[in-house]
Symmetry: C2
Subunit: 340 residues, 2 copies
């Protein structure tokens, strides 16, 4: 079967890989209907994160179950499923508390490379959720979004305690930030300030429910958020970048007692303890427990209440994955969908 | 009137100071019944925090109202009152959200020096809470504790979301940590692990409701907490020290999705973003909004449901404040009460 492999920064190739098989009785193998390229895939692509040799890529996927192991009970061959990037048993104490990405038995699905024709998913019962039936083709991008970027934006909005009456600021205008806007809107936020300086992303933010756009960033961005909130700062801030600047922008844009939900994978971030202490904010985030939200998100998508698939502004055949990486890297695409 | 003034690290003197008067119509002047020395007073005493010249000391106080400004309506001369270390209007949006220490009009009461015979308290209506009557002498220490250490330990327990069914770990065995134990117990925590290697503090922790004592600290302490919690970490961790080691001990002792409530004033703390991200914990803390809790805490003390005054293991006349600082510094006393 064909699959994308990263050999070095800037070097992604689609090549023949071994056909995955059931290894554990709790496994499933799925035929990938759609996969995509994640902002976090760009860290090794840009050489910021070290690669350990040639690495199969991709951790976002939807597809049709080909085969399940003998112990799998909740999904069966032929089901259309959405999964998340960490396999989880969904039964341990941590999972039951809603933190499936920290499951005591978690396994990174991405290690198997989801940008491929077939994918082995461990702990299938705890990881995959079947849709109510075979989806219309135009629902597939949204279901794929649920697998990571929507689930992550949603978690950030929940972690930031967005909701009715709240003013929410969103730092980061990538797919996750934009879907954080969508999530905040769905969760009933009163005012949603998207921080973006790109016209196409601003437009999508407004479609997803943003009420204000702030183009400034860093301290100027913070000042603007303060200006829009009677000097207090936002109640809820979603951080979806993962740099020192974006984290500080998020913390400083939040009022005392407010909530920062941060989901940008932290790179070279160091939080000054004293400033954090005196800020009085709540901080919560990390790798999003997408599995917690999948049933709800699939339902919203199935009912066409939300259309998160709009973040995909470039669709390519899997064979052209390298072009997809280039487009994401150069920010000519927000999010690239790959069709095996 | 007499009051304690710090001239330099290790140099605290009780001397004549100007008698405070009503400056703003929202002020009150109180006759201090009891004040105390705070762990945070030790930072400048030890030369770790810079002093700006001779500094009146103390920010924890109870006393009897001598005089109020023309706009004060909720307290009157003769009332016995408990206040908090930041004066707050208790009406702004931040105060109404329960974050009075971040009030848009806040003023540090400590700037006036509470370790003295008389004290001017700004924003008296929003800062002071009157007790139901004149307290018995043996209630005074507990009411004084409410003014800071109890309120701070209570906030930490609330920020750490302690409660029924929760396992709580407490990092720090000073007065705040010990009262964090008391708070967690009152809030219904199932298991409370006090981290302490001092017999007298362990004893008090057990009296306040600790179910386990862990003597190890740092990584060994974390390992012990994990061992006591099926490898997962505590649901809730109270951090009441403020050093890099104590913060990391708190974060690492918390399970994914769990809550760290941190109230130790951060000194030279820098939190590694990546580790924090992958920890999946909630982080909340800062200067405790004691005012939020005062009515409830005074009620509990008045009904003798709690006895936080036990943390005072040394009572001295105000004139001997210097001896009190020495005792706190050398850890021969947990907490020193000063009687003007």
């Amino acid at each position: 079967m064909r699959g994308a492999v990263m050999y070095a920064p800037g070097d992604v190739r689609v090549e023949d890989r071994d056909v995955p098989v059931i290894v554990e009785p709790t496994d499933a193998v799925i035929r990938v209907a759609a996969a995509c390229i994640c902002g976090s895939d760009l860290w090794p692509y840009r050489g910021i994160e070290q690669l350990n040799g040639a690495t199969p890529m991709g951790h976002e996927y939807v597809g049709v179950v080909e085969q399940v192991g003998s112990e799998v009970t909740t999904i069966k061959a032929g089901d259309f499923v959405v999964g998340s990037f960490f396999a989880s048993d969904n039964t341990c104490e941590i999972c039951r508390a809603g933190y499936q990405t920290h499951c005591v038995n978690r396994q990174p699905v991405g290690a198997n490379g989801a940008q491929s024709e077939l994918l082995r998913v461990p702990l299938a019962d705890g990881t995959l959720v079947a849709t109510p039936g075979q989806p219309d083709a135009n629902l597939v991008p949204s279901l794929l979004a649920a697998s990571d970027v929507l689930g992550t934006g949603w978690f950030a909005a929940v972690a930031a305690e967005t909701g009715p009456g709240k003013t929410v600021a969103v730092v980061g205008d990538g797919a996750v930030g934009l879907l954080g806007v969508l999530a905040a809107h769905q969760l009933g936020a009163e005012r949603i300030i998207a921080m973006s300086r790109h016209a196409d992303r601003q437009k999508l933010a407004l479609e997803f429910g943003a009420t204000d756009i702030v183009e400034e960033r860093g301290n100027a961005g913070v000042a603007k958020i303060k200006e829009l909130t009677h000097g207090l700062g936002a109640h809820s801030v979603i951080e979806a970048v993962g740099t020192q600047e974006s984290m500080m922008q998020a913390i400083r844009s939040t009022r005392p007692g407010g909530h920062v939900g941060y989901v940008g994978v932290a790179h070279d971030v160091s939080l000054p303890g004293k400033e954090l202490f005196f800020s009085g904010v709540h901080l919560h985030g990390g790798p999003a427990p997408v599995r917690r939200f999948l049933p709800e998100l699939i339902d919203l998508i199935w009912r066409r209440a939300i259309d998160p698939g709009k973040v995909f502004d470039l669709t390519l055949p899997l064979e052209d994955a390298a072009e997809g990486y280039r487009a994401m890297d150069q920010r000519t695409a927000i999010k690239v969908l790959l069709q095996p």
